[in-house]
């Protein structure tokens, strides 16, 4: 169906179900209960899950298929963000042009950078992309201030021209990004028993885009073009010997993944019309690498999973503080309670990066294929052992 094999179609359906029902199953704990802070079903966080999911899917098309490790993908995300905000400022507060233009701008940007960087491979390629991204970051933060807003960032303002709909919004407030009048930040809240579910417009728009992005990614993975990219990864030299130049294929993959990054950037400003230079910094590029690796490089669903996990930990772990810990361990004797709190304290709150670093090391050490690789291995071990023994 839809040109997919049965398994892929089921996977697509599974993701669709996951994304559509996310506001419900991400809120497993009743409102007001002790564990309510573990709920992830609020719009801001869910939007981030989905947007970074798109970013990671795109990154995986380059890294997972061709093996070229780019350390500068955040530059495309940043370029897309800036383009998106400019569209919101100049054209219309409707998010469609912003999202489309940010994707295209990132595509052009990645075409230029990719054309130069792909002349080298291995770590030289990584360093070239890193250098370009750091240059973009430094320029965006300093010299390009008229275009990028410098260190304060670029945002929509009251007196933006907005040539398509500017006349209608002379009122006192800065208009919020919307889809034909439906504001992105608008949510419906539904109470079911003790549970509170929030259905947000921005989230569902992002989720819709994610589904399209995911579908395209599946098609790319299964296409002859995708096979070519895998050939680049497994043996670049032999591919050249068969008389095929890998360059056009890798460049196409680079541009596609750059456009995914730009799309993610466009969605980001559609949710919150603010773009800052720090989005381009190499730590942001590193983050998407982490997401992809954590989930599983070269797998379809892995990057989305990794993005979700990292964003979840970032939000939830950083929220836990000492008071909360004391509450949890209140059932223990006092001495033991204090002891437990002291032990856990460095890993949560402001120290959640420590948890991230440790988690990351453990995954790389023990699960080289990421979470998906680990799960597949487990599945094979449990269900296929008997057939192998025979």
């Amino acid at each position: 169906m839809l040109g997919l094999s049965r398994n892929d179609f089921l996977l697509l359906l599974f993701v669709l179900l996951l994304v559509a029902a996310a506001p419900m199953f991400l809120n497993p704990f009743p409102e007001g209960s002790e564990f309510a802070q573990f709920n992830a079903g609020y719009p801001d966080l869910m939007q981030r899950f989905v947007i970074f999911g798109i970013f990671a899917i795109g990154f995986n098309i380059l890294f997972g298929l061709t093996g070229y490790l780019s350390f500068g993908h955040a530059a495309f995300l940043g370029a897309g963000s800036y383009a998106g905000v400019w569209m919101l400022k100049l054209l219309t507060i409707n998010v469609i042009p912003a999202i489309v233009v940010s994707t295209l701008v990132a595509g052009v940007f990645s075409l230029i950078i990719g054309y130069i960087s792909l002349r080298r491979s291995g770590i030289y390629f990584s360093i070239l992309t890193l250098a370009f991204a750091q240059m973009s970051f430094a320029l965006a933060a300093s010299v390009l201030t008229p275009i990028t807003g410098g260190e304060t960032g670029l945002q929509t303002a009251l007196h933006d021209p907005r040539i398509l709909d500017g006349a209608g919004s002379v009122g006192g407030n800065i208009p919020a990004p919307s889809l034909f009048g439906l504001e992105m930040r608008h949510s419906w809240q539904v109470n079911v028993g003790d549970w509170l579910w929030t259905f947000n417009v921005g989230y569902y728009l992002s989720a819709f885009v994610l589904m399209i992005a995911f579908y395209i990614a599946i098609r790319i993975f299964r296409s002859p073009f995708g096979m070519m990219l895998k050939a680049v990864k497994s043996n670049n030299q032999r591919l050249s010997y068969t008389g095929i130049s890998p360059r056009p294929y890798t460049l196409a993959a680079f541009v596609i993944s750059g456009m995914y990054a730009g799309l993610a950037g466009g969605l980001m400003v559609a949710m919150d019309p603010l773009a800052g230079a720090e989005r381009m910094q190499w730590t942001a590029s590193g983050e998407v690498v982490l997401m992809t690796i954590l989930g599983g490089v070269g797998t379809l669903i892995g990057p989305v999973l990794g993005a979700g996990l990292i964003k979840y930990f970032e939000n939830i772990f950083s929220k836990i503080n000492d008071n909360l810990l004391h509450q949890w361990f209140a059932f223990m004797p006092d001495g033991l309670e204090d002891f437990m709190v002291t032990i856990i304290h460095p890993f949560v709150g402001k120290g959640w990066h420590l948890t991230l670093g440790l988690m990351f090391m453990l995954v790389v050490i023990f699960l080289p294929g990421g979470l998906i690789g680990g799960l597949t291995g487990l599945y094979n071990r449990v269900f296929r052992r008997r057939s192998k023994a025979r």
Partner: protein
């Protein structure tokens, strides 16, 4: 533009170039011997800097005595802090020891950094020889985050000033030594010290590799590890020691850098990215290339920070290193002094 201004920029580039060169040297040593891309190397530089902070803290550990003859603003007896070292060695000697905390920290940092290097190599890196470079990058990146966060948990997120010894505060009028007008080309003493120190370390590492039997074996192992192993030499052990030495070099670079720039927990990451660019520009696996590229890029950076240059090309000071890296990598694919077949897949 005057000649003296050019000279000043060259001098200004030397201290940053020294730091780049030292870190890049360690990175290249690790890459050349073990074939591992170590993203935690910046963290080692940072830990070295915090060795100096720790030693300063230890030396200034004080006990409090009450001086009944004076009172503070609340009318209570004045509390006087006396560092233990002053109590033990007398006031003059004690103060001198505290004053020289940074140079003393070198002695403190060497065993600490060697130990950290050994633990890191035996405990973690050893298991990653056969894994792809991407995995090595990722696991060491994770380790760098962990090390950073540990330092942050103990020392806080702010910069901690560690002064240079009083004898080195002030500036050298370098211009008047070479015939310019006095006061035109001045250069802080500590930066002179840093440059000389870096040159000594670099010379020591090269001499160690070039003129000792141990170094000869290591170089042989870098060229062909398997054959050296077949000759019955325990090359793994020697490479572990080289990892420790590389860690110590990064640590010492950090120790001596503290008076120039007060350390904080993410200083390592800031240097790491540029150091990687330096290594690649110099050519992966080439020790001389790393040092050369370190100084070239350091000096280039300081030239780009000149007012005249910034007015001519705005923002060039921010990007010149990366720009140079791009140009060099495109013109010379293997970097300045790179060998063939290293890190090309």
């Amino acid at each position: 533009m005057e000649l003296s201004a050019l000279l000043l920029q060259v001098l200004n580039g030397l201290d940053k170039g020294s730091a780049y060169a030292l870190i890049a040297l360690g990175l290249t040593l690790i890459f050349g011997t073990l074939g591992v891309v170590n993203f935690a190397h910046g963290a080692l530089f940072m830990i070295g800097a915090f060795c100096a902070v720790t030693l300063q803290k230890i030396l200034t550990t004080s006990f409090i005595t009450l001086d009944e003859t004076k009172t503070d603003f609340l009318g209570k007896p004045l509390k006087i802090k006396t560092p233990y070292v002053e109590e033990w060695f007398g006031q003059t000697a004690g103060q001198a020891i505290i004053d020289w905390a940074v140079p003393l920290a070198i002695l403190f940092a060497i065993p600490v950094m060697l130990l950290i290097g050994f633990i890191m190599e035996r405990g973690l890196i050893k298991h990653f020889y056969k894994r792809p470079h991407a995995d090595q990058i990722l696991v060491t990146f994770g380790l760098a985050i962990v090390l950073q966060e540990i330092i942050k948990a103990y020392f806080g997120a702010n910069q901690i000033p560690v002064p240079a010894p009083e004898a080195f505060i002030g500036s050298l009028d370098f211009g008047s030594l070479v015939g310019f007008d006095p006061g035109v080309v001045i250069y802080p003493y500590w930066r002179v010290v840093y440059f000389v120190f870096a040159m000594i370390i670099i010379a020591a590492v090269f001499a160690f590799l070039q003129f000792t039997t141990f170094g000869m074996v290591v170089r042989a192992g870098m060229a062909d590890r398997e054959t050296v192993g077949l000759l019955g030499i325990n090359i793994d052990k020697r490479f572990t020691i080289m990892f420790g030495i590389a860690a110590a070099v990064a640590g010492l670079a950090g120790v001596m850098y503290t008076p120039i720039n007060p350390p904080n927990y993410h200083m390592g990451m800031d240097f790491l990215v540029i150091s990687f660019v330096v290594v690649v520009v110099g050519g992966m696996g080439s020790l001389g290339g790393a040092v050369l590229a370190g100084f070239i890029l350091g000096i280039l950076e300081s030239f780009a920070s000149m007012r005249e240059v910034i007015e001519f090309i705005p923002g060039i000071n921010q990007v010149v290193i990366y720009l140079a890296a791009i140009v060099i990598l495109l013109a010379r694919p293997r970097g300045l002094l790179g060998r063939k077949g290293v890190m090309e897949s």
